[in-house]
């Protein structure tokens, strides 16, 4: 049928685009390249392909055009540096996080974005910095979630407070806070069940969990971090807004940056909501975590594989 012909053509088109993208980029930012319409069209493609979003991309390109005019830039090289500056500035709220003593970190996010894994990595990181760490198995919903965090706790060598599957998540967190206080643990990291942000009841549950921590542990530095999957597209903005509404997130961890996705959606989130990106996850291993660096992030984004 005609449909198949279209697919075949499109498929070929995509392959070609992907192959030529790398070439074009090296020439796009390759030094003396001209700053013409082609340049801006290619740039648009790169930014949109990085999940920055059509609207934010437009804004960035506009800012770059202004800058080019103002500074009378001539070469792609100069433009690249300007671009990095513009995007880095948009993410200026992002800064590395230094845990205080005591700190409690609540990790929230939709299903499968890497919450439990990043808890393992964070625990290991802080422990290696000489802090004492405890986990709370707040995902009492998903099958074998408690076991999963338990295995990470063993790897890290940290205690893990857990109840049975199906029990009340807020109650686990409550117990964990008590226990962390009693043991004078430096950093308590709490897992939560993955939940889609449009499920009202589940989001209300999160509100409750958050207020338990607020009430029970006012002296701790309270961090609520939204875990995002770098492969996620524009929906991440809706996620951030919904989670912020019930639990006041003050940080983002951007997981799965080891794939081909660029995670550009955090630019909008960071910029509009002023929520700093704290870490990026770069694999499934215990050490696969890095503090977020906006400039580096930006450079990686415009350098395609």
């Amino acid at each position: 049928m005609g449909e198949n012909g279209f697919w075949a053509k499109l498929y070929k088109g995509l392959t070609k685009t992907r192959e030529s993208l790398a070439d074009k980029l090296s020439s796009l930012f390759g030094g003396a390249g001209e700053l013409d319409d082609d340049f801006f069209e290619e740039l648009e493609m790169i930014l949109i392909s990085a999940d920055i979003g059509a609207v934010t991309t437009e804004r960035i390109i506009e800012a770059l055009r202004d800058e080019i005019k103002k500074e009378k830039m001539k070469t792609a090289d100069e433009a690249r540096e300007a671009l990095v500056r513009i995007i880095t500035e948009m993410m200026s709220t992002s800064e590395p996080y230094e845990p205080k003593k005591p700190t409690v970190i609540l990790i929230v996010g939709v299903n499968g974005v890497g919450k439990t894994t990043v808890i393992g990595k964070l625990g290991n990181l802080y422990k290696s910095e000489g802090l004492s760490v405890m986990f709370a198995a707040g995902d009492t919903f998903r099958a074998a979630a408690v076991e999963q965090l338990g295995i990470w706790a063993e790897r890290v060598g940290a205690p893990c407070v857990k109840h049975q599957e199906g029990s009340d998540s807020a109650a686990v967190i409550f117990d964990a806070v008590r226990s962390a206080k009693a043991k004078k643990t430096d950093v308590l990291i709490c897992d939560t069940a993955g939940r889609l942000h449009n499920k009202h009841n589940l989001m209300e549950e999160l509100r409750k969990i958050n207020s338990v921590i607020e009430k029970e542990y006012p002296e701790a530095d309270r961090q609520v971090w939204l875990a995002l999957d770098a492969t996620t597209g524009q929906n991440a903005v809706a996620q951030a807004k919904a989670f912020a509404a019930v639990s006041g997130i003050n940080g983002i961890v951007l997981n799965k940056m080891d794939g081909t996705a660029k995670g550009g959606i955090v630019i909008s989130i960071c910029n509009e909501m002023e929520i700093p990106v704290r870490y990026i996850g770069v694999g499934e291993g215990i050490d696969d975590i890095r503090p977020f660096d906006a400039t580096e992030f930006c450079r990686a984004m415009i350098k395609t594989a």
């Binding site: 499109l10 999940d51 890497g114 998903r142 074998a144 076991e147 524009q234 660029k262 499934e284």
Partner: protein, 437 residues
């Protein structure tokens, strides 16, 4: 968000247009800018959007505006139709192996929802009277096999696993185990893997080669962004997928990734995951996806209504034809197509004079319908207008042309005569009655 406003924006653009008639190039250009942003914000891949806009623009310029629609609605209608065409309009079923067991291999990125989906599929097939076996091959993620076992026990479906032993061997052994246990469907859950992880991709190729799956299904998160094309292409290139499952569609994402994946692989999306409960699995409806991506369900309903008014008009026309005895095979085919569009298989079966109890499945009905269409399409216009001229040699030619037999052709002509009679009967019985099907 920028998105909610698309229909509003389009309406505004076209408000300036007071006249009816045809869509002008300038109106379309402005409208397409909005459509483009909408599609991009819905995560449809950049390149696909580009091609799509080009195609729609070409079609829309100079298009006649339907009487019952505003120009804005007309554009939306065209956009929606093209999007639906891209998504594919028919639902795709799981392939069943003629020689049991049917083997389903799930693959995908980390966190896409494979394990949950494996269990959901098992539950779904169980309800259809199948005997599934779940196989746990994710030896990497902590407690992944525990998760599968917990879910399986909720369904009382058996699990085959060998802890953290070689997953290739586990998959291989599971097939014999299934045969031994008289399971007719094997569902293999695999570890999430990055499409650029060579070693892990080799592992899944090895699993494929060992078990020769009936279906390899790529599981993809509905919230995936622009990268969906890279993922889908890489999985398809290295192991050759047969279909796709989109998960987490119960979220509020537009789900443009579904379109991207369909575009880049050409493979159908077979199922959708719509919740955390094991019963939250649905056969995928590509046509609904198109309107979801556009985010304009309400406008589309309006357009549909206008369209159906339009259809009513044609129904009235048909009535007139019947009265003057001009109802011919062309009309018969039209009616057929219309019902097909509405998916009213049951009524079609009735129309074709098929005894429902003798019909084994919807697939049979589908085949029947295709045959009917083929036969009529093999007739000349003259023959369609005057079926009475269809003598033996003409029938023979039509049978050959449509790949059917003369008996099939005869049957169809009988059906045509019968429904003509039936319609007349209905009309006489009940005034105001529109169509019997």
């Amino acid at each position: 968000m920028a998105f909610e406003g698309l229909s509003q924006k389009l309406q505004n653009i076209f408000k300036k247009l007071t006249g009816r008639g045809k869509l002008s190039e300038n109106d379309i250009k402005e409208a397409m800018r909005e459509v483009r942003i909408a599609l991009l914000e819905a995560d449809v891949n950049y390149t696909i959007v580009k091609d799509f806009i080009k195609k729609v623009t070409e079609r829309a310029i100079g298009a006649e505006i339907l009487q019952s629609l505003t120009p804005g609605q007309q554009v939306i209608k065209i956009v929606n139709e093209e999007l639906t065409a891209l998504m594919g309009s028919t639902q795709s079923k799981l392939t069943v192996s003629p020689k049991p067991p049917t083997i389903i291999l799930l693959c995908g990125l980390q966190g896409a929802g494979k394990t949950t989906m494996a269990a959901k599929l098992a539950g779904y097939l169980q309800k259809q009277g199948k005997k599934p076996l779940l196989v746990g091959c994710d030896i990497y993620r902590p407690a992944a096999i525990d998760q599968l076992k917990v879910l399986a026990s909720q369904l009382q479906v058996p699990v085959f696993e060998r802890g953290t032993a070689d997953p290739v061997e586990t998959a291989y052994l599971s097939v014999d185990y299934a045969i031994h246990k008289l399971a007719d469907t094997v569902i293999v859950d695999t570890a999430g893997r990055l499409h650029i992880d060579e070693q892990m991709m080799q592992e899944i190729v090895a699993i494929r080669d060992k078990i020769k799956p009936t279906e390899i299904l790529l599981t993809i998160d509905a919230m995936t962004g622009q990268d969906a094309v890279n993922v889908a292409k890489a999985f398809n290139d290295s192991i050759g997928i047969d279909g796709v499952i989109v998960t987490k569609l119960d979220g509020d994402t537009r789900g443009g990734a579904a379109l991207s994946v369909k575009a880049v692989t050409g493979k159908p999306i077979k199922f959708a995951g719509t919740g955390e409960k094991l019963s939250d699995i649905e056969p995928f409806h590509p046509d609904r996806m198109a309107s979801r991506i556009l985010g304009m369900g309400d406008v589309l309903t309006l357009i549909e209504k206008a369209q159906s008014e339009f259809d009513e008009k044609s129904a009235a026309e048909l009535e007139k034809k019947l009265q003057s005895n001009r109802f011919d095979l062309n009309d018969f085919l039209d009616q057929f197509k219309q019902i097909r569009k509405m998916g009213g298989i049951g009524s079609i079966m009735g129309m074709m004079g098929v005894d429902k109890s003798k019909m084994t499945s919807e697939e049979d009905a589908e085949k029947q319908m295709k045959r009917t269409e083929a036969i009529i399409q093999s007739m000349t216009m003259k023959e369609r207008h005057n079926p009475q001229i269809l003598d033996g040699s003409r029938r023979k030619r039509i049978a050959a042309g449509s790949g059917t037999t003369v008996t099939d052709v005869n049957r169809l002509i009988n059906q045509f005569e019968q429904s003509k009679k039936m319609m007349k009967m209905f009309r006489n019985k009940k005034k105001g009655f529109k169509m019997p099907f």
